[in-house]
Amino acid sequence: MDFSTPQLYIEIVYLLAAITFIISLRRLSNPATARTGNLTAAVGMSLAVLATIASILINGTDWHLGLIIVGALIGGGVGWYLARTVEMTAMPQMVALFNGMGGGAAALTSMSDFLDRLNAHASYGYDFSTATALGVIIGSVSLSGSFIALGKLQGFIPARPVTYGGQQIVNAIVGILIFVMAVYLIAFPAGDVHTTVLVLMSVLGLILGVAITMPIGGADMPVVISLLNSFTGLAAAFTGFVLGSNVLVIAGALVGASGMILTQLMSKAMNRSLANVLFGAFGTGGGTEAAAGADGARPVRELTVDDAATLLAYANQVVIVPGYGMAVARAQNAVQELAKQLEKRGVTVKYGIHPVAGRMPGHMNVLLAEADVPYNQLYEMEQINPELPQTDVVLVIGANDVVNPAARTDPKSPIYGMPIIEADLAQNVIVMKRSMRSGFAGIDNDLFYEPKTSMLFGDAKDVATALTTAVKNL
């Protein structure tokens, strides 16, 4: 690096940016400071980008700077538009999209610098070629993996685990090929073949990203996105090695490490190991009608809106267990109206939130906050479970796997051991659902067939609105 005075100032700005990222991570871990934490990092990022423009200007500029600004405006504009307009329920898809873009940028940047070196017939050391290979491979995996995750969540790629015989072997062969190519790039002095090998290696990286994401079920996509987020951080750090940029190394390593911890926290919230998520081919991803089974379709009890309203209105305590189905039906506001009506009649209403309700840990809190549900009505699983045996009615809205008693009782069930909201211990259970479809884990739910359970089929928003009216008219 050229440590002339202006360049030194630029490096100092980069250091400041790195410090804001560290402060930001700390603040993002606490609800009270999270928002300013995010803004802190945004300010640091702006400083880093301005410093980069300054360093390009110092070194004499031409039309390249115009090209950079055009590119940044296009990318920034698209990112801004999507981030502003997307539905809150589709947040996980957005994170996957932006993560994939970051991974792609890291792979292309490493690749570009390496090709530049090859073109100039400049010499380079093992450290440079190793960092390039890692940046290109990890970035490519992150790019294609993120887009598969996005597709699975959005539904244009089957959410169920896509598996076939010999899959692990095929994946292993792709992995080995990538490894061999990387070794070739690193160990052999620059030659004409290097460009071809580099491009082939990144294509294989893309294939590997697809291959390892396809066998993972839709319910596990948040964990996968978190893992790929960590990968992109690492890819950025390796690109930092390639370019000799401290700020890239620091920010990339921070995200790589914290992303890995976060991934483990998420797996833990689902009571699964990361290895089990990645290689378990878990769940069918929903969409399957509950299997009729050998014993034929089991009977469920349906009840009318008026009956349900009576049951709710004369209860002492009602616990609402919301799931992703409620968010998809955009029923949050209608449900909150119902809760207000019940409270007017002296019913205590609480929300029981499962840690992985929604599509990601914490997703449901965001969705309910959007509907102005007060904080003090939200109870975490551990807080609400002891109260359930004394609860008159549990109202399950668009949730399924998180109230499946099989997690507690059936060691053969794929979700056995997952902590659940123990709705089956309450006096009565009303389940609002569109149909008897299984949840994201793709398994049947015994709760629906219990004598104390009644089903209320229909669109969650319509049913909640009808219930509110019925309660009012009682």
Partner: protein, 120 residues
């Protein structure tokens, strides 16, 4: 135009006589310390913040935009390098802007609500 866009070995080679190890070693030290910092700084996070935290870290690795801008500036007249650098810049900018905006939208939901006892 020349940009101080140099890999480690090239930097070390430029400083004739200086051994190659220390510079590489310095940046590895930075990397390792940053990894430990990343682990330490988010050891305890409430579940409800997992999603925003993932989204926030997602925005931070958008720092790759800085690298993309530097390689595009150094691409010269090489069409391939210009294309690669341009796409990288578009992607990097999308990562940065989209990442921060989406995180802010999530977090703005977590504003203070009426205190307990205020109603009910």
């Amino acid at each position: 135009m020349t940009i101080p866009l140099l890999g480690l070995s090239a930097v070390a080679a430029a400083e004739t006589g200086s051994p190659q190890l220390p510079l590489l070693f310095m940046i590895i030290v930075v990397f390792v310390l940053a990894v430990f910092l990343g682990v330490e700084v988010i050891s305890k996070v409430p579940t409800m913040l997992h999603t925003p935290l993932m989204s926030g870290t997602n925005a931070i690795h958008g720092i790759i935009l800085v690298g993309a801008m530097l390689v595009l500036a150094a691409a010269g007249d090489n069409i391939l390098l210009l294309i690669l650098g341009f796409i990288a810049t578009v992607f990097g900018a999308g990562n940065v802007v989209g990442g921060f905006v989406v995180t802010d939208r999530m977090l703005q939901m977590f504003k203070k609500k009426p205190q307990p006892g205020g109603k009910q």
